[in-house]
């Protein structure tokens, strides 16, 4: 008799519990699967970008030979007699980026050293959030600034400067990147342990000597990574150059001239109404592929530098 009661007991109480456990486990698994799908969306985006750029570029390179693409000195895909040499766009991109970096790297680094090593706690705590705030200013606004504020000033100084020029676009882009480089480089220098500074001061070094010969070398990996991320931002920047540098592809490294960058070309074509599948439509994907490869190289270089030269304290 006792066994039957036990069995009844088991049948009525344990199995609902088991059932509940099973339901719970299934629910847990389903949730984990959904979360994993969301995480995979990042991979899907990358795959999507690569697939679409390659696919459309493949169509482009059926018409245009790769050799012409890299050796032709003219980029006129929408003309009667089209030329497809990417070099003028690359030269425009590199020139504006170089001007930008000549502003952003020195100013950003000096400001970062000052903030990290010289400024008082209060100054640093006020300036840091402002820098973070400035990183978020939309770039089209900087385009306006370049075209209607900086260009007229530059034209006063250099009367021969055309209304659209790479100098003004590059300078404004540089100013735009300063907060970015400054903020990342400052973080890198802050991460250098205090004991290293104290050791240097104990030997009688001044703040300046400590900053230049102890802190900056110890933070090299972070500072260089900040530069490389700045470069990759400058290369991919669109609105400032589209507004202020001009729309005419021009194979030159002279910042006083007007020239189109890769990004400005894409904007120019997208503003017109090109039929889907035409060579002009495909050309923006080929240009985008070149841009993507350029920024990817810089980004990977940045990660590599950070990993390779990271000092552990």
């Amino acid at each position: 008799m006792a066994t039957t009661t036990m069995n009844e007991f088991a049948a009525t109480t344990i199995s609902p519990r088991l059932a509940k456990n099973i339901r719970r486990n299934i629910k847990e698994r389903v949730i984990e699967f959904i979360l994993m799908l969301a995480a995979l969306s990042a991979v899907a985006t990358t795959v999507g970008i690569v697939a679409i750029l390659l696919n459309e570029s493949l169509g482009f390179f059926k018409t245009v030979s790769v050799v012409d693409f890299f050796t032709d000195t003219q980029w006129t895909p929408l003309f009667e007699n089209p030329h497809f040499g990417i070099m003028p766009l690359i030269s425009g991109t590199l020139t504006t980026s170089a001007v930008a970096l000549m502003v952003a790297i020195p100013v950003g680094t000096i400001a970062a050293i000052y903030l990290s090593e010289f400024a008082s706690h209060k100054v640093r705590e006020t300036v840091k959030p402002i820098l973070e705030l400035l990183v978020g200013v939309p770039t089209v606004v900087f385009g306006y600034f370049a075209l209607f504020f900086v260009t007229p000033i530059l034209q006063n100084m250099i009367p021969t400067l055309p209304g659209f020029n790479m100098l003004s676009a590059g300078l404004v882009m540089g100013i735009m990147i300063i907060p970015y480089i400054c903020s990342v480089a400052e973080d890198a220098m802050r991460a250098v342990p205090m004991s290293m500074r104290e050791g240097s001061y104990a030997m009688g070094a001044t703040r300046f000597q400590t900053a230049l010969r102890v802190v900056a070398p110890a933070a090299t990996s972070g500072i260089v990574a900040a530069y490389i991320l700045g470069i990759s931002r400058a290369v991919g920047e669109t609105m400032v150059v589209a507004v202020a540098a001009g729309q005419q592809p021009n194979l030159t490294f002279n910042p006083m001239e007007s020239a189109a960058t890769i990004t400005a070309y894409i904007v120019q074509v997208a503003l017109g109404d090109l039929p889907h599948g035409s060579i002009g439509y495909q050309s923006i994907f080929a240009a985008g592929l070149v841009l993507m490869v350029m920024t990817l190289i810089f980004n990977m270089l940045g990660h590599w530098v950070r990993k390779k030269y990271r000092e552990n304290y």
Binding site: S41, G48, P106, G136, F148, T206, A270, L271, L291, T295
Partner: protein, 311 residues
């Protein structure tokens, strides 16, 4: 060593110390100048926009459609478009980004699979925004046939800010001590109960910070929207999302044509007529105020969280 040479040496050392101290002062001044170059130029930019656009910043400007005459042109279709696009962006980027962040921090096994996802997320953050525009042009506009619609724009910007949301979610989750999770497990909670009731609740502030910064970025983003073909002259509003007949919701607006604030600004500033440049300046001032307010709120929130939480 004679006394004279010691004194001479001492004087040299003193001169050297003086020189080095001078270097300190000189560098301080250069440092302040460098910092000011960064900060003051941006202040100048802001004042310049307000000054140039001051004549147009009023309510009339916000309630007029674009027009051929600069003085009558307004931002109505642009700010409505921006609002609707941002709604789609929010609805795609936030659930997906938070879920992905939760998975990577709480669930993902430490192996090649999660490494690939991690590398992807950090690389995506460095992809130029115009490349997202090309992706969307090929995938959403032509591949899926969504056309040049609000839905396309919202999804594009959603993908664009996804890495920002993922990274901020992960960072705020990582700050939660293991003890919290262990305590929840100890009273019999399942993994999802731990994640949903504790991890997610405590990282809420940090996630919100990332979401706001991402949305501010999306609001000011111009290049990808141009690439997917936003129209620049829109003198109508998309159909209202709310209707007065059941089921009271209307989804026609998703496929409607649209324009957004930064596109309207770009359109006005690329016209030769100076009167339109005033409109562009006014639009720029409005965009900058909104994005700065959003970013400022997010940064303040972050500092407050950093100070208030002591585990």
């Amino acid at each position: 060593m004679t006394q004279a040479s010691v004194i001479k040496n001492l004087n040299e050392v003193r001169a050297m110390i003086k020189r080095h101290k001078m270097d300190d002062h000189i560098f301080s001044i250069i440092g302040i100048i460098a910092l000011m170059v960064g900060l003051l130029t941006l202040l100048t930019l802001f004042i310049d926009l307000i000054y140039d656009g001051s004549g147009r910043i009023n309510l009339q400007f916000l309630s007029d459609y674009p027009s051929r005459r600069a003085a009558n042109a307004g931002l109505l279709s642009a700010w409505v478009g921006s609002t609707l696009v941002m709604m789609i962006t929010f609805l795609t980027a936030v659930p997906m980004g938070v879920a992905a962040g939760l998975y990577l921090e709480e669930y993902a096994p430490k192996n090649w699979f999660s490494d690939i996802i991690e590398i992807n997320v950090s690389n995506l953050a460095g992809v130029p925004s115009i490349v997202y525009g090309l992706l969307a042009l090929g995938l959403f506009v032509y591949g899926l046939g969504l056309g040049q619609s609000i839905l396309t724009a919202g999804l594009t910007l959603g993908l664009l800010i996804l890495p920002i949301v993922i990274v901020s979610t992960r960072e705020s989750i990582r700050a939660i001590p293991v003890a919290i999770r262990e305590a929840a497990y100890a009273v019999g909670a399942t993994k999802w109960q731990v994640v949903y009731d504790h991890v997610l609740k405590y990282s809420y502030g940090g996630i919100l910070t990332g979401v706001i910064i991402g949305m501010a970025r999306a609001l000011g983003e111009t290049a990808p929207i141009i690439t997917i073909g936003a129209l620049t002259f829109i003198a109508f509003l998309p159909p209202s999302p709310i209707s007065n007949v059941p089921p009271y919701l209307n989804f026609d607006w998703l496929s409607s044509g649209y324009t957004v604030l930064p596109i309207q600004m770009f359109n006005w500033l690329s016209r030769p007529d100076h009167a339109f440049h005033v409109n562009a300046a006014a639009t720029g001032a409005i965009i900058i105020v909104v994005t700065l307010l959003m970013n400022g709120y997010a940064i303040r929130l972050r500092y407050k969280i950093r100070e208030s939480i002591k585990w």
